[in-house]
Symmetry: C2
Subunit: 410 residues, 2 copies
C-alpha cells in the first residue's frame, strides 16, 4: 500500500562497523520521496520508541550524514530490549500519535521478529503502515540472504588480527588461541582462514560452534601442527565446546535476550595446550573491537549496508511491508549483488549455521568453498586511512517532542 | 675501535609493529661498509646464539628485505631468555668461533643489560668487539631516550581501539573498561587520551600503574562521568591496582624474566562498576595485538626504528661500543629527531615511568604536556592499506652452520 505520512527508523542489537551505512542509505532514499514527511530517528532502538526519544533526521546536515555513513557503531544508539506484548502495544500507540506510516528496523533475527509482531499488530488495529526490516549482524546468521551486512568487516578484522597475532606467536615459537564472536554460528571464525596464504601461516586450526570435537583429537591436532611449524595458532568461536566433556569453556552469564554471555573458551583451550604440549600458550579475545574497529572496514560490506538501507525505503514506499531486504549474489569475481526481499516470518528467530559441507572432515578447518564465499566480502577500502587517531562525528540531534504520557514498563 | 670481521644481530623480548624496521636499517647500513664481512642473523635472540642458529642476512633478497621493513613482529624470531653467567660465556665462545666483531641487540632494558654484560666479558677475555644496543619496547620505559621505537605504533593502535570501543559503548549507553599493556609504566594507557577530541569522547578516565587511587574515589569518578555522558569508557594499565586494597586485580603467573604475567584488572574494575552503578559494563583486553597490529603502524615510529638500526651499525663501525642508540627530539611540530648514544650502564635494568607532573591531580587522567609529547609519535602512514587481508613475507633463511659442540643449558 502506498502511504503518505511520517517514517521512523531504529538500530537494534550489537552494532557493526557498517550499520550506519544502512541508516544513511535509508535517510538519503527517504529524502527523495514526497511520501515521507518527517523521518524520525528512534534513539536506542525500541527503548527510544517506548519513551518517545526521537530526532528529526531530515534536519541533520547533509555533509554530516555522509560522514556518518563511514562511522562505525550505531549513531542513533542501540538496544537489546526484548519487547513484551505491552511494549508492542505501546509502540503502536506511539506510531499512531506521530502518524508513523513507515517503520524500518536495522537488526538481526530477534529484531526481525519484533518487526513482524509490530506488523501483525498494525494489521489487527487497522493502522495502515509499511514495515521493512534491514538486515544487520556481524554473526552472518540470518537465513535466506546471501550474507549479512556487518559480517564482511568483522570477518576482515578478525582475519587481519589473526594474521598479526600469528606473526607474534611465530616470533616466539608459542601457541596462540584467538577467541572470536559467534554463539551458534562460526562464520567469522571460519573466515579467519581466508588470511592463510601458506600452509605454515596461522590459523592452523579453527573450531566452530557447529562441530563436535573430541578433546584427545584436539590435542593430537595441536601436537601435530606445533611440531610441523614450530608455532601454533588457533581461532575458536566463543560458542565452541567439546562434546560430552566437562571441560568448562563457557561462562554462565545471560544477556537481555536470554542468550548466554559466553567467554572463556580461548583461555580454557590455551591452558589445555600449555599443559599437554609443555610450551607457552597465550590467548586473546577480539571482543568488542569486532563490532567497531573501523580501520578494518570492508568496502563491499559498506556498499551492501548502504544498499539495503536505500532499498528498504524504496520498497516500503512502493507498498511492500512485513518483509526484510536480502542480498542476492550475482557474481563473486567481480562481486556483484542485488537487493531482494523476503517475508519477515521467513527469517524471524531463525539461525543459519555454517553448512556441514563447508567444514572439513576433521572438524578443524573450513573448505575452499567457504573461502570462496567469504573472500569477496572481506575486501578493504582503497582510500588512505586517516593519519590521526580515527575520530567520527555524531548527529546534531534535533529533538522531536513526545506526545503521550510517560511509559512505565511492567 | 675500528674492526674488521663478522657482525651479528638479534631481536629480543616482546616484538613490536616496527622492530623489523630496526633490523632492516642495520642490514642496509651493514651492506654499505667493508668492515662487516658476513652479517649473522641470530634466530630467536639469545637462544639462537647459544645454539648457533644463524642465517646469512647479506644473502637475503634486497626487495624482500625492504618488505620486511614494514612487517610487524620479529622476523628473526625473539626470545625472553634471561642469560646466566654460563650462557654469557657460551656467547663469547660463539662470537670467537665465528669471528664476530660487531654485535647488535634490539630490545628493552633487560636486553641492554645482557649487552652490557657481554661487553664486559669481551673486554675481560681480550676479544675486540663493538657492541651496540638498539632500543625497542612498546612500553616506552627506557630512560634517557626521548621515546622508544615500538611505542608510537602501540599507542596509535591503543588510542584507535579505545575510540572504536567507545563508539560501541556509547551506542549501548554502557560502561567499557579496556586493559592495556604496561606493568610499571602507563605510557600506552595514557596515550589513549590523545584520541579524545571532545570531553564527551572516551576514554573519560585512565588509570596508570604509577598512581595511587582509592576505590571509593574511583567509583565516585565513574558515577560522575556516567551520569554526565550517558556512557563511560576507562583505559587501564595491566599493572594498575588500588592502594591498600585487597581487591584482586592481577594474576599470579610469572614470565621468564621473573615479571608477573598480569591480567584481569579490566574485569575486576568492570565488575565493580556493574555492581556499584547498576549498569552493564564490559571489558576488553587489547592483548597481543598491541605488538603486532600492522594496520595501526605509526610512520614516525617506523622512521625512528629504521634510523636507530642504521645508526647502531654506523657508530659501531666508527669504533663505539657498550652504548645504546637514543632518540633526541629536536622539534615536535614538525617532528624532527636525531640519533645519539648513551652508555649501556646508563639504561640497563632501569625503568622510566610517566612523570608525576604529566598525570592529573585527580590521578584519573593525563595532562596536556603528556598529550603534546605523544601525539607526534602516533601519526599513521599516508599510503593506502592493502585491500586484501594483510600478509607479510618471511626471510629466505640461508643457514650458517654451527662450529661448536652442542650447548646444554644448566
Amino acid at each position: 500500500m502506498s502511504l503518505q505520512g511520517n517514517a521512523m527508523i531504529g538500530q537494534s542489537g550489537g552494532p557493526s562497523i557498517v550499520i550506519n551505512a544502512s541508516l544513511v542509505g535509508a535517510i538519503e532514499a527517504a529524502r527523495d520521496t514526497a511520501q515521507i514527511e518527517t523521518f524520525y530517528g528512534a534513539l536506542h532502538g525500541l527503548d527510544g520508541i517506548l519513551n518517545e526519544q526521537f530526532i528529526d533526521l531530515f534536519r541533520e546536515d547533509y555533509e554530516l550524514v555522509e560522514q556518518i555513513r563511514y562511522t562505525p557503531s550505531a549513531a542513533l544508539g542501540t538496544s537489546r530490549l526484548k519487547p513484551t506484548d505491552a511494549d508492542l502495544q505501546r509502540c503502536m500507540e506511539v506510531f499512531k500519535a506521530h502518524n508513523i506510516r513507515y517503520f524500518f528496523y536495522i537488526g538481526g533475527d530477534d529484531s526481525q521478529l519484533a518487526c513482524h509482531k509490530i506488523s501483525q499488530l498494525a494489521k489487527s488495529s487497522d493502522w495502515d503502515m509499511n514495515i521493512v526490516g534491514i538486515p544487520k549482524t556481524i554473526d552472518n546468521d540470518l537465513v535466506i540472504t546471501d550474507n549479512c551486512p556487518g559480517f564482511g568487516s568483522a570477518a576482515r578484522l578478525a582475519a587481519s588480527a589473526v594474521q598479526f597475532v600469528s606473526k607474534d606467536a611465530e616470533a616466539f615459537g608459542n601457541c596462540e588461541v584467538m577467541e572470536i564472536m559467534g554463539r551458534n554460528a562460526g562464520w567469522i571464525t571460519g573466515a579467519t582462514q581466508v588470511g592463510r596464504q601458506e600452509e605454515r601461516d596461522g590459523p592452523h586450526l579453527v573450531y566452530l560452534p557447529e562441530v563436535i570435537v573430541d578433546p584427545d583429537k584436539f590435542l593430537a591436532d595441536c601436537h601435530e601442527n606445533f611440531d610441523k611449524w614450530g608455532y601454533l595458532v588457533i581461532a575458536v568461536s566463543e560458542g565452541f565446546s567439546f562434546a560430552e566433556s566437562d571441560i568448562p569453556t563457557t561462562s554462565q552469564k545471560i544477556d537481555e535476550f536470554g542468550h548466554a554471555r559466553l567467554g572463556g573458551v580461548a583461555q580454557a583451550l590455551s591452558d589445555m595446550i600449555e599443559e599437554e604440549l609443555g610450551v607457552r600458550s597465550r590467548f586473546d579475545r577480539l571482543g568488542n573491537l569486532q563490532r567497531s574497529f573501523g580501520l578494518a572496514a570492508s568496502q563491499v560490506d559498506l556498499d551492501e549496508a548502504y544498499a539495503v538501507g536505500r532499498d528498504a525505503v524504496r520498497r516500503a514506499c512502493q507498498g511492500e511491508s512485513d518483509v526484510m531486504i536480502t542480498i542476492q549474489r550475482k557474481s563473486s569475481e567481480p562481486f556483484v549483488f542485488e537487493c531482494e526481499d523476503t517475508s519477515l516470518m521467513s527469517v524471524a528467530g531463525k539461525t543459519r549455521v555454517v553448512p556441514d559441507e563447508w567444514i572439513n572432515e576433521e572438524h578443524n578447518g573450513i573448505t575452499e568453498e567457504f573461502i570462496e564465499y567469504c573472500r569477496p566480502l572481506m575486501v578493504g577500502r582503497s582510500e588512505p586511512m586517516p593519519v590521526g587517531i580515527p575520530h567520527y562525528p555524531r548527529f546534531q540531534k534535533h529533538v522531536i517532542a513526545g506526545k503521550l504520557p510517560k511509559y512505565e514498563r511492567e
